[in-house]
Amino acid sequence: MGVSMDKKQLVHKIIVMIFFILLMSPFLILLLWAFSKVWTAGSIFPHDWGLRGWQYILNPQNKILSVIGTSIFLSLAVTLVATIISIPAGKALGLYDFPGKNIVEILVLAPIIIPPITIGMGIHVIFIKYGLVDTFLGVLLIHLVVVMPYGIRIFASVYKAMGLKWEEQSKILKANNWQRFIYVTLPFLKPGLITSGILMFNVSFSQYFLTFLIGGGKIVTLPLVLFPYINSGDRVIGSVISLIFILIALIFMFIIERVITDPKQKSSYYYL
């Protein structure tokens, strides 16, 4: 019995290994392209290595650096505003029962199910009418719509797990609102802040269609720059932009975990 168990485990192990090789291989190809200069058709490896792609990015005439700045700023703003709105909303859904709760829950979750193009194309003309197209604010607002459901959902589970008893306890112990928030609520919220922050930032940072439609070409984010490179164009430049994209997302994840995590609290709950 021992032998056949090991064999089975080995088979599973191999399958999983193959899976991970497949999963990681695209990254390797990306790295190869990002650091090549000339890679003609048909050859397995680039002819020439170089930093041509990186020079293109750093050249201020190509405006890539300012696009990166816009993207980060936009997504940070979206994440911040969405977090501020989602926390109380999550509290309401996680801790209270009230008439209409079902409807609210559906409304809050709907943007995850309903395709963004419907919303974007539907509201586009209204945005034009009220001067929200081609503006930072307009793009921020439409991003909020797709990003908030994740945040609200996460905070709702956080608050639910926390329950009312902590708040009640601290009220009994005569803590005021501010103290309650800092010492009781916040530690519970932290894992949720991390997860929702990362998720919301990513969703906003990766958004193409809504930024393109509502931004009208004036608000340029990284996905808009990368878009034409997916099926044509200079692969070296496309790879470098992609690498930067991934790096920024990873750096943000890293920063947010560092800044928010309480080293004493090693919870890995994702509250989804």
Binding site: N62, I128, N177, G217, K218, P228, S232, D234
Partner: protein
């Protein structure tokens, strides 16, 4: 957080969202467009100093984008202190944008200058989306352009009437690698033979890509009675046209199984076809700019055995233009930019294949001697055909009213099963 603080934040949030929305509203402010047309050119230039011009143009060619971002932007900054903001957007998309803005009467748009021609110009004029007529206000237009020439006064047969100014001229050409194909087909019948002998090595962009669109018009000229069979009309009768085009559909369906991917799918844009060509997946690509590939050879993007060629019957040429939308926020600046782009210096820089390779829109008879010399000494590159050969093989475009209909009929007749 205290209840008061929270309430305050809540109110603030509402204000942040509501105020800008309410504040924007309908901008019915008096736009001084009439005044701009009345002003002295020097005043226009002076007022445009320190402003930004949003230049919306097709972004599918990196070299063109580079030329605008570098040469054009820098010179405009140095000479006029105007910042050029290039925004890549396909013509159908910015037409759509302007349409939306026209619908709600948005007086202050975001586009100052447009790169446009053909059926898009026609749509724009019919929907009254363009500002003008402004051409006669542009000094370089008056000085250097042959304003009566048929291909300046008419855009795909549609009267320009000063609502756009010429930017450059293009002529369609095929591209191949002489190392792979030594004797390329130069007519529709030769092409048919070639694809049958070399299945899977040829394709064309799907409609409504403008290069794909002009490609099938070449077949249309050969198979359906030449461009004379398609006289200028304001509106097109779809059924009649469909009848007329039956030989074209028959041809395209006949070659279908011998195309790349057995003709079941087509590259969605010219950029994709170029990619297939450089990757070695097909043996031909197409372009509106015959010198483009010389420039690409210089940059090492394609091998130096690449050449362009035209068909025996000739290839279609046209002029492309610059226009200003009805709600451009910076009409003066747009005119200054348009004027610059029409200057001999800019036109010659544009003509150089290491930059773009686009043909000059100015009348060579009106140019000073020094410019003529510069033009003649420009190395068009080894892949480019001589100006004479191109001129001898140049065919006119047909009325823009046909274009959209042909593109729609292509989908019905060739794509859908």
């Amino acid at each position: 957080m205290t209840k008061k603080l929270r309430k305050l934040l809540f109110i603030l949030l509402i204000l942040i969202i509501v105020l800008p929305v309410a504040g924007c509203g309908n901008d019915k402010g008096e736009v001084l467009e009439e005044d701009v047309l009345e002003q002295d050119w020097d005043l226009i230039v002076a007022s445009a100093q320190g402003t930004t011009v949003n230049f919306y143009m097709w972004g599918g060619d990196d070299r063109i984008n580079s030329w605008v971002d570098n040469y054009v932007s820098q010179t405009m900054q140095e000479t006029y202190n105007i910042t050029v903001n290039r925004v890549p957007m396909d013509a159908p998309e910015f037409i759509n944008k302007l349409l939306g803005e026209k619908q709600v009467n948005r007086q202050k748009g975001s586009i100052d200058l447009l790169w446009i021609n053909g059926e898009n110009f026609r749509t724009a004029r019919q929907a009254e989306m363009l500002w003008g007529p402004f051409a006669e206000k542009i000094p370089n237009f008056n000085e250097y352009v042959d304003t009566d020439a048929l291909d300046i006064a008419f855009d795909f047969g549609f009267p320009v009437e000063g609502f756009e100014v010429p930017y450059g001229k293009a002529q369609f050409a095929f591209t191949h690698d002489t190392a792979r194909v030594s004797n390329p087909p130069r007519s529709s019948s030769e092409l048919m033979e070639w694809v049958k002998a070399n299945p899977g090595r040829f394709t064309y962009p799907e409609m409504p890509d403008f290069t794909g669109s002009v490609f099938i018009r070449h077949l249309m000229y050969e198979l359906c009675g030449g461009y004379e069979a398609f006289p200028y009309v304001e509106e097109v009768n779809i059924e009649d046209l469909n009848e007329q085009l039956q030989p074209l559909w028959a041809y395209l369906n006949d070659i279908k199984p011998y195309l790349w991917r057995q003709g079941e799918t087509y590259p969605s844009q010219i950029a994709q076809l170029d990619q297939l060509f450089t990757d070695g997946e097909v043996d031909f690509t197409m372009t509106y700019h015959p010198s483009r590939f010389s420039g690409m050879i210089d940059q090492g993007l394609v091998p130096d055995t690449v050449r362009t060629f035209v068909w025996d019957q000739g290839t279609i040429g046209n002029t492309h233009f610059l226009a200003i939308p009805f709600n451009a926020p910076n009409k003066g600046g747009a005119m200054v930019l348009a004027n610059f782009l029409m200057s001999p210096e800019a036109q010659i820089s544009k003509y150089d294949p290491t930059n773009w390779g686009d043909m000059i829109a100015l009348d060579i008879n009106k140019l000073e001697e020094k410019y003529i010399q510069e033009i003649e000494s420009t190395d068009l590159g080894i892949a480019t055909l001589s100006a004479e050969e191109l001129a001898n093989h140049r065919l006119p475009e047909i009325a823009s009213a046909y274009i959209q209909v042909i593109e729609d009929l292509w989908r019905d007749n060739v794509i859908k099963e």
